[in-house]
Symmetry: C2
Subunit: 192 residues, 2 copies
């Protein structure tokens, strides 16, 4: 009978590895070594590396989701919610010196064309964050603090994608600058 | 003595493979099989898969660079240049049914943290496209057709990154929609 804590050790260790090295550059042996568990134990818990990748992606999306709770904070204005949300996302990238990028974005470019189940999970994750941004932008359009020239869903989809592009560039530059530029252009210009 | 056409066959075949499958998922054997050349011939032409990757990236950047010539077409207004440039980029993505993404973006997420020489090449490529966009946006700001609320370089850097994000999302969705949304928001709203 597989011990639950072995599975948890594998997921936790591989989240760090897959985020920093990518999916295909990380072997099952890399993962079991990092987790400090026997290589053979991997397949007691996961049918494949793909199955682990899906679980790690969900874990990551859930963690980012906790940052998104500020988007629902009625004590803040819609603009304050957006500012604090992206400040939190920038802090997340700063924690690895802007070197790892977004696991969701990394997997999107590396695996969308390789693993159909991964692509479905990534689409769902993007749809989820777009929907949350749509609600905040719509609230700002209703109270007049965010420009209404384009529909909230259109702006939110664009902003969600543009964030991924800024993170991609930050990873290529190992720099915070693209993320701060994103916030300035989105909040001071696009949504004003 | 290595035959030049073998090298060219390897570069051409691997551009397609590396674009569709990614760097780490493509082996030297995959490349030599696709090129129809003996596996041993690879190392007559390239010191490593990384060295080939750098050459393929440069080939790709040069090809995209030909699309960017429209950005310098003085017969068009700055807005027309931007529209035609991004129309051309969308057509490039349509050629593989929005499944491959941008090789530069793919390598940025997959390899920025793995291969320092690749990261330098990617930074140079991003700086090059940002500079070209800066010049067009500055021209539009001078003739009054593009909003001047933010500096041209700030807008251009943001737009360049946002394009990468839109391509990333298009790859995750296998869809043209994020790219068309990008053009609408950038041309009809951000730069208006």
């Amino acid at each position: 009978m597989a011990k639950p804590n072995v599975k948890e050790q594998i997921v936790t260790s591989s989240l760090e590895l897959l985020h920093s090295k990518g999916f295909n550059a990380t072997s099952v042996q890399d993962i079991t070594e990092a987790a400090g568990v026997p290589k053979g134990s991997f397949y007691n818990h996961f049918a494949s590396k793909e199955a682990l990748g899906l679980e790690v992606l969900q874990r990551y999306v859930d963690a980012v989701g906790t940052l998104a709770t500020v988007l629902h904070d009625a004590a803040l204005t819609p603009r304050q919610r957006l500012q604090q949300y992206f400040d939190g996302m920038i802090a997340g990238n700063a924690a690895n010196d802007f070197q790892h990028g977004c696991l969701l974005g990394n997997f999107s470019t590396e695996l969308s064309n390789q693993i159909p189940a991964m692509r479905s999970a990534m689409q769902a994750a993007f749809d989820g964050s777009s929907a949350q941004l749509t609600a905040v932008i719509a609230a700002g359009q209703q109270d007049g603090s965010i420009a209404s020239a384009l529909p909230a869903a259109e702006l939110a989809g664009f902003v969600n994608d543009a964030w991924q592009g800024a993170v991609l560039r930050a990873k290529a530059e190992h720099s915070r600058a693209p993320l701060e530029r994103f916030v300035r252009v989105v909040l001071d210009r696009l949504l004003t």
